[in-house]
Amino acid sequence: MSVFDLLMGALLVASALAAVTLKNAIHAGLALVGNFLALAVVYFALEAQFLGWIQIIVYAGAVMVLFLFVIMLLFDAKADVGPNPLPWMRPIAAALAALLFLALAYAYSSLGPIDPLADVKLAGGLPKALGAILYGGWLYPVLLVAVLLFAATVAAVVLVQPQIRKTRIKPQVLERDRELKEVGR
């Protein structure tokens, strides 16, 4: 490991921690953008240029802009300070996290000596080589993923439908209508 690797690792962990611990939703979103950018830097160090720029354009750019857009539009961007709606979740989450760390520790112990990022080169990080792999040998898996994403999009639209169609009538309005009817009688 080199200084660069340690620095990038620290940046990635710090920004990820900030993303889950910051109370303000916009600040958390920005921390996540920072995390994506740091990950893109790691891709560049691996000479996976195409992947790195796509990471910035798609995740740091498009996806996070949409996320922040929705947060700004819907929430006050303040943390939810009410009682915890899922109190039984905490022990389960702790157990799962412990399990994850065990698995990571096992994976780490079974690794050989770790090379610095700068010495590991991903063969074919450029668009042509990547395209040849994705649309050559891996064509059917890519198509399957595309179908899955499409199904998810359709599902999202369908799930939202009834809430849009249901006309919301305020109780006061119902009350007034009832009174008007009685008066009319």
Binding site: I26, H27, W53, I57, A60, G61, V65, M72, P127
Partner: protein, 330 residues
């Protein structure tokens, strides 16, 4: 050594861009005044040529006010983001062939995926506008920021899909390869006319120039995202806006009109021809600005998703079919 060279070239480029910005404000105000039969700034120095200096002194010494309701950290971060990424975008535009700048390459960063770089930087730059709108703690600013984010998503998508056509035809994401291809086969504006038109419109929207300045919209939003900013923080936004104009005016000829290459068989002079094409596009944008009105916001968004995007997609499919039937890039 190569790092040092890139740093020096970057510094020179930044100084050039800042100088161009200063005199573009002058040219813009004089030019717009001409269009509107006014005089424009003509008091400070001959022809008002020292006006940018006076403006700079004014902006620097103005009292720096911040807003009580603002989210301080993001409020300060937003102008910096806008300004930094606006400066960074120019780095990959080739000003001439390899080694034509006194034996050096006339570009700062020789990326082989430079189109992706420009996209990434342009997207990150809009974070500045978007965040400033939120951090100001004002409803008008927030609306301006939201408008710019929604507009960005629509127009960026059309822009990206439109550029797939030329990229497929050339077979490279490198701006230098795209210019070289045009030297051999002629301007891409002729090969890909629909893309050229879509790109022009979408680039105007990216710059936030009239008819697409719905994020500022003085009449409805009192100035939109930058309402609560003054002095140098406001100037940072203003610089970012004009730097986008400067960069796009160099990028459009590079992509579609042969870049640094001399047109009509005229003699090749390094940098000169790109400069002339750049001036043409600076003027075209100013012309549109002076003579057009701002279109309603929802109409512009509908236009991006309903007209530009389908046209770009259809043309991309056509190009893809053509390239595939020829068995690879031309």
């Amino acid at each position: 050594m190569s790092y040092l060279l890139a740093a020096i070239k970057g510094l020179v480029l930044i100084l050039m861009l800042l100088f161009t910005f200063a005199y573009l404000t002058w040219a813009m105000r004089r030019g717009l005044a001409r269009f509107q039969i006014r005089q424009g700034p003509n008091r400070v120095g001959p022809l008002g040529l020292f006006q940018p200096l006076a403006d700079a002194v004014k902006a620097i010494f103005k009292e720096d006010i911040s807003v009580a309701k603002a989210d301080k950290f993001v409020y300060w971060l937003a102008p910096l983001i806008s300004f930094t990424f606006a400066l960074a975008a120019f780095a990959v535009i080739p000003l001439g062939p390899k080694g034509s700048l006194f034996g050096l390459d006339p570009w700062v960063a020789g990326l082989n995926v430079s189109i992706l770089y420009i996209f990434a930087v342009a997207e990150l730059a809009t974070y500045g506008i978007f965040l400033s709108g939120w951090a100001s703690g004002s409803k008008y600013s927030l609306m301006g920021g939201m408008r710019s984010a929604a507009g960005l998503i629509g127009y960026e998508l059309a822009l990206g899909v439109a550029l797939l056509g030329p990229v497929l035809l050339v077979g490279s994401l490198d701006l230098r390869d795209i210019v070289d291809w045009q030297v051999k086969h002629g301007w891409l504006a002729l090969w890909q006319l629909p893309v050229f038109i879509v790109y022009l419109i979408a680039a105007l929207a990216e710059m936030g120039r009239t008819p697409f300045d719905f994020a500022e919209a003085e009449q409805e939003l009192v100035g939109g995202f930058s309402t609560e900013y003054n002095s140098m923080k406001f100037v940072a936004f203003y610089m970012a806006e004009l730097l986008h104009w400067i960069t796009a005016s160099a990028l459009i000829p590079t992509l579609f009109m042969g870049g640094w290459h001399a047109p009509f068989g005229l003699p090749e002079v390094p940098i000169l021809w790109l400069f002339i094409k750049w001036l043409v596009f600076i003027f075209v944008v100013m012309w549109i600005w002076a003579s057009w009105f701002r279109t309603r916001y929802d109409v512009m968004i509908r236009f991006a998703w309903g007209k530009l995007f389908p046209v770009a997609l259809a043309w991309f499919l056509l190009t893809a079919y053509w390239v595939a039937s020829k068995g690879g890039a031309v």
